[in-house]
């Protein structure tokens, strides 16, 4: 996708005279060759600065803000699970909140039963959510488009109703409270400080972010993108499309379940609201805002949505008695993003980066010889 967006801009920047078509092709190759190394280096720098800033956050932010940051990371993982299905595999989903909630209830029930070890909660939550996703997915992934969307909506709403109805297990509308603090590793003390909980969430987030990144860049991830772009061709080439999509569905369910377990570690409370249509829609919209298909875009989309709704939404409007309304700001944000950022946050930032690399002080041409543009295509 990004490679497809690059050619016109690259050729315009190169300004090679001659036939427009040939110039475009040459310009593209040159632009990617010189930009590839510099861009990769810039990506590393931005990534390192982001991780450092996140690591420093508990030292500079107050308790409420740092707890919001923890929730953003959990929400980021949920949005990544949406992106895995919607952006990578091309299946728009409203069911991820259901698997998120299943993971959250699993972790909460385990914690209340005395299993306070974080990794154990995470594994169990991911396994249960993935198992449920595998069963529901066997029906759901046969559908496409709006039918898939509505089937996943049904999964989400049925799970939501179940969480309200099965009072014996879920605590009904009251939810489950009194969850003991999480223990990150055997032998460590329970985490009661919001800053320490943030470090635990951050560590899990980074590990899962890397794992998902590896998955999407693997041959399997490329095959998923292929199914999204031209399912008939992959089917004809002999790919088991149904099995591939089912595995993606289960993996996304497991990821959402792990996010749910983190959510419980942060809030130490779970209620049917954590499986609601509202959360499912918010995660899907955050993925769209982020720039559908990009994992770090998904995380930025989640951050924007949570910040606008929960953080800016609670502030007083200067010079008036009014309080900013979260949903109203969210609505305005959605409308603005659609018109101002046609390719989401990720697309907008990528464009800005390409422009920066070209106009900046002579981007060094240091790409290794074997680094051909076809690698990115």
């Amino acid at each position: 996708m990004s490679a497809a967006a690059a050619p016109p801009a690259a050729s315009a920047g190169a300004g090679v005279p001659g036939s427009p078509h040939a110039a475009g092709v040459q310009g593209t190759a040159a632009g990617l060759d010189s930009g590839g190394g510099a861009r990769r280096r810039l990506t590393w720098i931005v990534g390192a600065v982001t991780v450092l800033a996140l690591a420093a956050a508990p030292w500079v932010l107050d308790q409420y803000t740092i707890s919001t940051a923890s929730r953003i990371l959990a929400m980021g993982l949920l949005t990544m699970s949406v992106t895995l299905l919607t952006g990578v595999a091309g299946l728009p989903t409203l069911a991820q909140a259901a698997y998120f909630g299943i993971g959250a209830y699993t972790a909460a029930l385990l914690a209340r039963a005395g299993v306070v070890l974080g990794p154990a909660q995470l594994l169990a939550a991911a396994a249960v959510a993935a198992a449920v996703a595998l069963v529901t997915g066997s029906v759901v992934v046969r559908a496409r488009g709006v039918t898939f969307l509505m089937l996943t909506l049904a999964v989400g709403e049925l799970a939501h109703s179940a969480a309200i109805q099965w009072r014996g297990i879920s605590g009904g509308t009251d939810g489950l409270s009194g969850i003991p603090p999480v223990v990150p590793l055997p032998g460590m003390a329970p985490l009661v400080n919001d800053g320490l909980v943030f470090y635990y969430v951050l560590a899990v987030f980074l590990a899962l972010f890397a794992a998902v990144g590896g998955l999407t860049r693997s041959p399997y991830g490329l095959a998923l993108r292929g199914i999204r772009d031209n399912e008939a061709r992959l089917r004809a080439t002999g790919y088991p499309v149904y099995q591939y999509l089912l595995v993606a569905y289960a993996a996304a369910g497991g990821l959402a379940g792990a996010a749910g377990a983190l959510w419980v570690s942060v809030l130490r409370y779970v209620s049917p609201g954590d499986l609601s249509f509202g959360l499912a829609a918010l995660a899907l919209l955050a993925a769209v805002i982020g720039g559908i298909g990009s994992m770090w875009g998904a995380c930025l989309g989640a951050a924007l949505v949570v910040l606008v709704r929960d953080y800016v939404g609670g502030l007083d409007v200067p010079l008036t008695d009014y309080r900013a309304s979260g949903p109203l700001l969210l609505g305005v944000t959605f409308v603005m993003v659609v018109y101002l950022m046609p390719h989401g946050i990720a697309g907008t930032l990528k464009d800005a980066m390409v422009r920066l690399l070209r106009s900046g002080p002579a981007a060094p041409d240091d790409s290794p010889p074997g680094d051909s543009p076809t690698e990115r295509a």
Partner: protein, 294 residues
């Protein structure tokens, strides 16, 4: 207990289901046509219903004059909303459903907040005309008069919409545009005008549904979202893009929500989405899918 006895025992639920289904049809018809023709999934459709229901609260004080004024205002505001939404979604043509969903949910959120500011967060009383504010005997059962009149009016409306779209030349043009827009364009028809008219018509129908339906599902916070989800269910269960599908789906969902809940109340929270899941798992394109060129 024979069939007659069973029917007698459940008559009120069945008639309620018909009223409910016809109410959903007024929303689903526009939603389905706009999706079928323009490929626009309008998630602000529930807001149009809410606007109509709010008009009943504002204008209808129990008299006929106020009620008809509310209907007229509903048509005007609904059509204007449809034109506005067409203008807003036009620039997104070709960008996929998700961007449209983002935009129209944004509009719906803003609309919900405006309503919240107007209503103060409480359900508002929206009354039917006083002349219909009683109950009559329906085969020995006491039944609200307004609901029965609503069934009559909405059925007439549904019949009218059905005849126009499935039996008239104008309807044939719209159905042709749903099936193959490029072909219709090639025949010299300005499909943009057809699209605009269909969107405005669908939106006006939803707003009028709100005006007429307010005494049944009144203006309250969250109603926009719940009727939107219900009409989305109706549309996909019936089959996207056809009036026949919308009507079939609406009547089916109406019975599920009324008769189904009355018969097996213990499964009530699972009925709506459970039955949709079943229908879509068995017939992914709905009960009455539109024939499309492959």
């Amino acid at each position: 207990m024979g069939v007659i006895g069973w029917l007698d025992a459940n008559l009120v639920s069945i008639v309620d289901g018909v009223a409910y289904g016809l109410l959903l049809f007024t929303l689903a018809a526009g939603l389905s046509l706009v999706f079928g023709m323009m490929d626009v999934l309008n998630l602000a459709h529930g807001t149009l219903y809410l606007a109509g229901a709010y008009l009943t609260f504002l204008l209808s004080g129990g008299g006929w004059l106020g009620f008809f004024a509310a209907i007229a205002a509903g048509i005007a505001i609904g059509a204007a909303g449809g034109v506005l939404l067409t203008a807003m979604t036009q620039p997104l043509a070709g960008r996929g459903h998700l961007d449209q969903a983002l935009l129209t949910i944004g509009v719906a959120l803003i609309g919900a907040e405006v309503f919240l500011a107007l209503s103060g967060g409480d359900p508002l009383p929206a009354s039917e005309p006083a002349a219909l504010d009683g109950s009559i005997s329906l085969l020995g059962h006491v039944y609200p008069t307004y609901r029965l009149v609503f069934i009559g009016v909405a059925a007439l409306l549904a019949l009218l919409v059905y005849l126009v779209f499935e039996r008239s030349t104008l309807g044939a043009l719209v159905r042709a545009a749903v099936a193959d827009r490029e072909m219709v364009q090639a025949l010299g028809v300005d499909t943009r005008k057809v699209l605009l008219a269909v969107f405005a018509f669908g939106a006006a129908l939803a707003a009028v549904g709100g005006v007429l339906g307010a005494p049944i599902i009144g203006p309250a916070p969250g109603v926009d979202e719940s009727v939107l989800v219900l009409s989305l269910v109706v549309v996909v269960v019936g089959g996207l893009g056809s009036i026949r599908g919308a009507l079939l789906g609406a009547l089916y969902i109406g019975q599920v929500q009324s008769l189904g809940v009355a018969l097996i109340p213990e499964y009530a929270p699972f009925l709506l989405f459970g039955s949709m899941f079943l229908v879509l798992a068995l017939r992914p394109r709905g009960l009455a899918p539109v024939a499309r060129p492959a």
